[in-house]
Amino acid sequence: MNTLLAVRGLSVSFGGVVALDNVTFSAEAGRITSLIGPNGAGKTTLINCVSGFVRPDRGEADFAGRPLLDLPAHRIIGLGLARTFQQLRMFSRMNVLENVMVGLHGRMRRGFCAAMLRFPVLRREERALAERAMAALAEVGLARAAGKPAGALPYGDQKRLALARALASDPRMVLLDEPVAGLNPAETRELADLILAVRDRGVGLVMVEHDMSLVMRVSDRVVALCSGRTIAEGSPAEVQRHPEVAAAYLGGGKEFGLCA
């Protein structure tokens, strides 16, 4: 048990709506933990809290022992925790390589003055950055597209680019928000293989997904949320059999989408 990401008692409400209600969960290094649940269950909100985009009302979260919740969003990646977005959020004005290089921004230690005066050390650092970015692109199979405008890539490739951007800085864990949404079965399979390969080289993954077959196939652990609360936690098979999970997704006597 090597817990990397630990969340305890997280609660968030927006206006009067409770998005997360006392959620506790953890994700281990080198394992794939999936977050499932109907729409509105709070999965993306959980990701947003942990990655610094939403301030929770109550609760704690830490990553490798470092507290997360008092950090601004741009400091999170420095801890080794990267993320992707449900809506991609590509830098469409730039080419593929530059998109990934932005993912490495934290590696550059110098700022405005050094950049304006073009300190020689920057040139070396940029070259190193470009090499590292190409390696990340190679890992996701996009190396030949390095010079293309990011906006011109087909959707499936853009999803991979998002992953490359997150992987570029060699994070210990990546939060994936619906990585295969909108992909066809073949693309889903390819991305699944990629996710497994990333896991196999020691990177922990927390994956929010709706695609159940993917979740069942790749996950080491599954956490099910419904209406902001955890309703089940365990191996994929255990969670699948859990009565509340079935009820949340399928109805089963209770109203669709609502939980006990």
Binding site: S51, G52, F53, P72, A73, H74, R75, I76, I77, G78, A82, R83, F85, R89, M90, F91, S92, R93, M94, N95, E98, M101, V102, G103, L104, H105, G106, M108, G111, F112, A115, M116, L117, R118, L122, R123, E125, E126, L129, G147, P149, G151, A152, R165, A166, S169
Partner: protein
Amino acid sequence: MTPSVQARRFMAGLFPLAALVAVLPLWVENPYYLNVLNLTALHVLVVTGLNLLIGFAGQISLGHAAFFGLGAYVSGILSAGYGVAPWLALLAAVGLVCLVALAIGVPVLRLSGNYLVMATLGFNIIVNVILVQLEDLTGGSSGYVGIPSLSVAGVALDTDLKFYWLAWGLALLGLVPARNLAHSHVGRALRALHDSPQAARACGVPVASYKIRIFVLSAAYAAVAGALYAHYFGIVTPKTFDIFKSVELVTMCLVGGMGSLWGGLFGAAFLTPLPQLLHVFQEYQDVIFGGVLLLLLLFLPQGLVGWLEETLARRGLGGIRPPLDAQPPAPREDAP
């Protein structure tokens, strides 16, 4: 294209321009034209900073004339009213303008881009009214006079030609750090935060801090230009620094091509003499100016330089600007 190749390309463009600037006074002796050229140089300086803000960081300011004006007035008043040496007055003016820009930038830059337009517009108007109302200090609407010239190495820059060298020297020099910034990881981060501030944050870009810094930097450029203006013309009036000036400055960026430093230069070079030329047409001046602007924005939204680059690219010749912009801008993330 590696950064060093890009750098060489830029310098390749810069040297001929510098040569042109150096040689131009041989033909142009008419002080009126020199005057226009000097004003163009000052505009280039402002527009360089403004272009970093607009073209790279994607933040629009309609208040840069206020920074321009504050630079002019503070430097002018300090030197003419309080006997401060002109160069020191210039430095003090730039420092003060940076502080003011910080004061406005911090609260407003955390909001989406639309709000910055409104805030800078409001700021510009306030500065204008204050300049007019504080008559005892600023001379009111008739202006502040008696501003001394700058001197370099003991030589007072009190003629159009002498000032020409300083103005264009600084204008061209000012392009270099701007270009360096644009092509660096910071420039990349700025473009990223323009496209998607959220994703940029997730990549470790300190979005709020960078926005404020680029805003202050662009204000500093404007302040330098303003101080130079004051010490050249010797007189400053509030009307020169009103919102129309701000609009004119942003238009120079747009007309030349957003995010292209050469574009800003061409925009300034094109739009500065234009009103003077149109003066001939008297009555129709505004109509023509507005019409030209309209047509340019309608049909060449990528700006003159952008259009030039696209034409060259189509013929297989390389581009001059930092990497690719083959796609039309993606819809803004904050657009509902």
